[in-house]
């Protein structure tokens, strides 16, 4: 290995080690520490100057107390379950909204498709925070949606939407929609139309051909899209904090409050560690799916 190669690999490697891996080590360490009224608010602190004896002493003081605390307090496991539930429901609705859009895009004429594509990506570049905020004014009790529905006479009294789980679902569907549409569109666009024509020639109605040919063949895009919405939705903070109510339990919000309001760093760190462990499952499944797809194509 020559010197240039070492420098080339070393710079990004060192950066990621120092600012990505080491911080996780610290989170793990603090998750195993005790809360203390001090700055920083946890013990024990590692003192490298103390040598081997100090290290042994340090390790012997670590314990799983915080994890035991998470298991005994209802709040935490309810928040994890509720995050998974909210993410699942929102993913389902994102699919329901996204699939027809992706399908419509794949049917549009070739000259229109790049424009449609840009229109899907454009919101993705605009601030996430602003896109969530836009819904506050719409879903309010005196908001535009209620004014509209009242004006049409569809409802007699305003619906309470803001600060409920429904608002959180709407927020997630709205902000993550491009993640669902793009992979589905990518698979639908490549579909061979003669397959549908063959199905129709063989006696299928147009809907049967769609259901029996197009939908199964779009499976890979649907799976990829669902994971791309589900994974980030679990740890979401901004949407439940802004659109959800006090009853909306999501683990990202719990972690934030544990850290900023309760100032309990060890518990916040333990919450983060468990959240990561939960996320490993869908991430591994997602990567397996991608791998299979690549192998099928290659």
């Amino acid at each position: 290995m020559n010197f240039r190669r070492i420098v080339l690999i070393g710079i990004p490697y060192f950066w990621l080690l120092a600012l990505f891996l080491v911080p996780f080590g610290i989170v793990l360490k603090i998750a195993l520490s005790d809360t203390a009224v001090a700055i920083p608010p946890y013990v024990p602190k590692l003192d490298l100057a103390g040598g081997w004896a100090a290290l042994v002493d340090f390790v012997s003081q670590l314990d799983f107390e915080n994890f035991a605390f998470l298991a005994t307090d209802d709040l935490y496991w309810k928040a994890y379950l509720s995050s998974l539930r909210i993410a699942t429901i929102s993913t389902f609705f994102t699919l329901l909204v996204g699939f027809p859009i992706a399908y419509g895009m794949s049917r549009a004429s070739g000259e229109w498709r790049p424009t449609l594509m840009m229109l899907i990506i454009l919101p993705f570049w605009t601030s996430f925070l602003i896109r969530v905020y836009a819904w506050v004014g719409i879903l309010n009790t005196e908001g535009l949606l209620n004014q509209f529905l009242l004006g049409l006479g569809l409802i007699n009294e305003p619906l309470i939407l803001l600060n409920t789980n429904i608002a959180v679902y709407i927020g997630i569907v709205y902000t993550y929609l491009p993640f669902m549409i793009l992979p589905i569109y990518a698979t639908l666009e490549r579909l061979d139309d003669s397959l549908n024509e063959a199905a129709e020639d063989l006696g299928c109605t147009r809907f049967q051909a769609f259901w029996l040919v197009t939908v199964p063949l779009s499976k890979n895009g649907v799976i990829a899209g669902c994971f791309l919405v589900f994974i980030p939705a679990i740890g979401e903070f901004v949407i439940p904090a802004l659109l959800g109510g006090s009853k909306t339990l999501m683990i990202g919000k719990v972690l934030w409050e544990e850290f900023f309001s309760n100032r309990d760093w060890p518990v916040a760190s333990a919450v983060a560690v468990i959240l990561l462990l939960i996320l490993v499952v869908p991430i591994v499944l997602f990567q397996r799916n991608e791998q299979r797809q690549r192998e099928a194509e290659g």
């Binding site: 190669r5 080339l8 690999i9 710079i11 990004p12 490697y13 950066w15 990621l16 600012l19 990505f20 996780f24 610290i26 989170v27 920083p40 909204v97 027809p100 859009i101 399908y103 419509g104 895009m105 794949s106 049917r107 549009a108 004429s109 840009m118 229109l119 899907i120 454009l122 919101p123 570049w125 605009t126 601030s127 925070l129 602003i130 896109r131 905020y133 836009a134 506050v136 004014g137 719409i138 309010n140 535009l144 004014q147 709205y174 139309d193 980030p232 679990i234 740890g235 979401e236 903070f237 802004l242 990202g252 972690l255 850290f259 760190s269 983060a272 959240l275 990561l276 996320l279 991430i283």
Partner: protein
Amino acid sequence: MRRFTWFNATSLTLGFAFLYLPMIILVVYSFNASKLVTVWAGFSTKWYGELFRNEAFLDAAWVTLRVAVISSTLATVLGTLAAYVLVRAGRFRGRTLFSGMIYAPLVMPEVITGLSLLLLFIAIGLDRGVTTIVLAHTTFSMCYVSVVVSSRLASFDRSLEEAALDLGCTPFDAFRSVTLPVIAPAVISGWLLAFTLSLDDLVIASFTSGPSATTLPIKIWSSIRLGVSPEINALSTILIGIVATGVISASLISKRAALQRERDLHKAVRT
């Protein structure tokens, strides 16, 4: 022949209405004369005036812009380097860990990234401020840059580089005069992606900023927690306008460049 049915037309119309109406409403109500966001009281640009007189917002905008420019530039350099290592460096010890560290931040919840970086900064005694936000943003956006650049590098014909080396270029010259021009579009879009990620970030910036440095998203956050305000609508409109102009003009420029290439090709074939 693909059929474009009524169902397709309806779902596209409704879909795009869903995507764009909330933002259009936001923009329209930024010109509302009333302080109440839900009551229309005539056209006015007074909230824009208020916005530009608000020192706190201007300071935050300046901090955000500085952080975004520095961190996206650093992230582009590091991310391109990382992409080069991933695609070109072959096997080396710890390669799996390296590619893991590139891909993991993309799926990491922001609250965890923010928390872990903050704990690091405190552990090493770094004062929280512009520097720490820049370090944090550089770290997560370099991963996005390297994904964008490495997909371009992977599809690039390596024999061109080898030819340059055979003709006497140093590896650095070959990179600068052959590889870089080819991957330049990916590097530029990587920079833009890093820039918008940094402009947009609330969670990681909240963890890693100190009292000395407030970014625009943090400022927006603290004022919208109190409810809808027309000033924030005005600010949002400006931000949406900048992004829309940027994205649309970028796509027009690349479309024109593609057309130009095609025309040149035709000319070359004819002569």
